[in-house]
């Protein structure tokens, strides 16, 4: 083997391949590059798997967002229906007792029906008292707070 030449015994039993120094250096460089390329491929494969997972997760996120939009649309529809059904006032019926001052003597038993608007209520009341005649009256209330 000369100074400027390099020989390599290949896997084949009998053959001998003679390489120049430049060829041997190029072959060694290519082999090193090949080794590192294998490592890079491994990492890139991991990266691709990671991207695939990310894609699935983005798809899930998209589905979730779609569901949120769907539910919010349903809510809007329900609110529209509520607004359509909502009357300008509500009707409530009450049954109660009223004392005379802070005593239990001659309490008044009353029942009333009220039409309640946003700012005021209007209704009729029927009342009973043990020692007085019963009667009815009209109630008009203004909402202070």
């Amino acid at each position: 083997m000369g100074f400027n030449s390099f020989s390599q015994n290949a896997i084949q039993k009998d053959s001998v391949v003679v390489l120049t120094e430049a060829q041997a250096r190029a072959a060694a460089t290519d082999l090193v590059r090949y080794d590192f390329a294998k490592q890079v491929i491994k990492e890139q494969e991991a990266r691709i798997k990671n991207f695939q997972k990310k894609e699935i997760e983005f798809q899930n996120k998209l589905d979730i967002k779609d569901s949120i939009i769907f539910h919010q649309k349903s809510m809007i529809d329900i609110h529209k229906e509520i607004i359509k059904n909502k009357k300008p006032f509500e009707v409530h019926g009450y049954l109660g007792t009223q004392s005379t001052r802070f005593t239990l003597r001659e309490p008044t038993l009353y029942t009333n029906i009220m039409f309640e608007f946003t700012k005021f209520n209007i209704g009729a009341q029927y009342f009973l008292q043990p020692n007085n005649p019963s009667g009815y009256s009209i109630i008009l209330e203004y909402k202070l707070f």
């Binding site: 100074f3 390099f6 390599q8 015994n9 896997i11 120094e21 041997a24 250096r25 060694a28 460089t29 082999l31 090193v32 590059r33 590192f36 490592q39 890079v40 990492e43 890139q44 991991a46 990266r47 990671n50 991207f51 997972k53 990310k54 997760e57 983005f58 899930n60 996120k61 979730i64 967002k65 569901s67 949120i68 539910h71 919010q72 349903s74 809510m75 329900i78 609110h79 229906e81 509520i82 059904n85 909502k86 009357k87 509500e90 009707v91 029927y126 019963s134 009815y136």
Partner: protein
């Protein structure tokens, strides 16, 4: 009381209309309360979905971080490759022989 009953009997049409109107109003109130219940259920579902969405965002963030780590690992590999190639360039003949001997040991 009897007076009231007599009055109502006289005004039977007004009473019927009032009763129908009352029933209709009560029915709409009931319908509205059912609709409000449905709204509450939908709100709860939306809250759940938003939580799920937040969890999904966290997963995506962690996957992005993993990607950054992989990219930095690839950069390190490339740097190592560059250094190794430089080493090969500066190897003496004996070093090259050793390189091939270590790589392809004789069996």
């Amino acid at each position: 009381m009897i007076k009231v009953l007599n009055y109502l009997r006289e005004q039977y049409l007004a009473v019927i209309i009032t009763v129908i109107w009352l029933l209709f109003t009560l029915y709409s109130q009931e319908k509205n309360s059912i609709l409000l219940k449905q709204t509450k259920q939908l709100e709860a579902k939306i809250v759940q979905l938003k939580q799920k969405d937040n969890r999904s965002s966290i997963v995506i963030d962690s996957l992005s971080k993993i990607d950054t780590v992989i990219v930095s690992r690839i950069k390190t590999i490339k740097q190592k490759e560059y250094v190794q190639v430089k080493v090969i360039d500066s190897l003496p003949i004996s070093g090259l022989q050793q390189f091939f001997t270590e790589r392809y040991p004789e069996r």
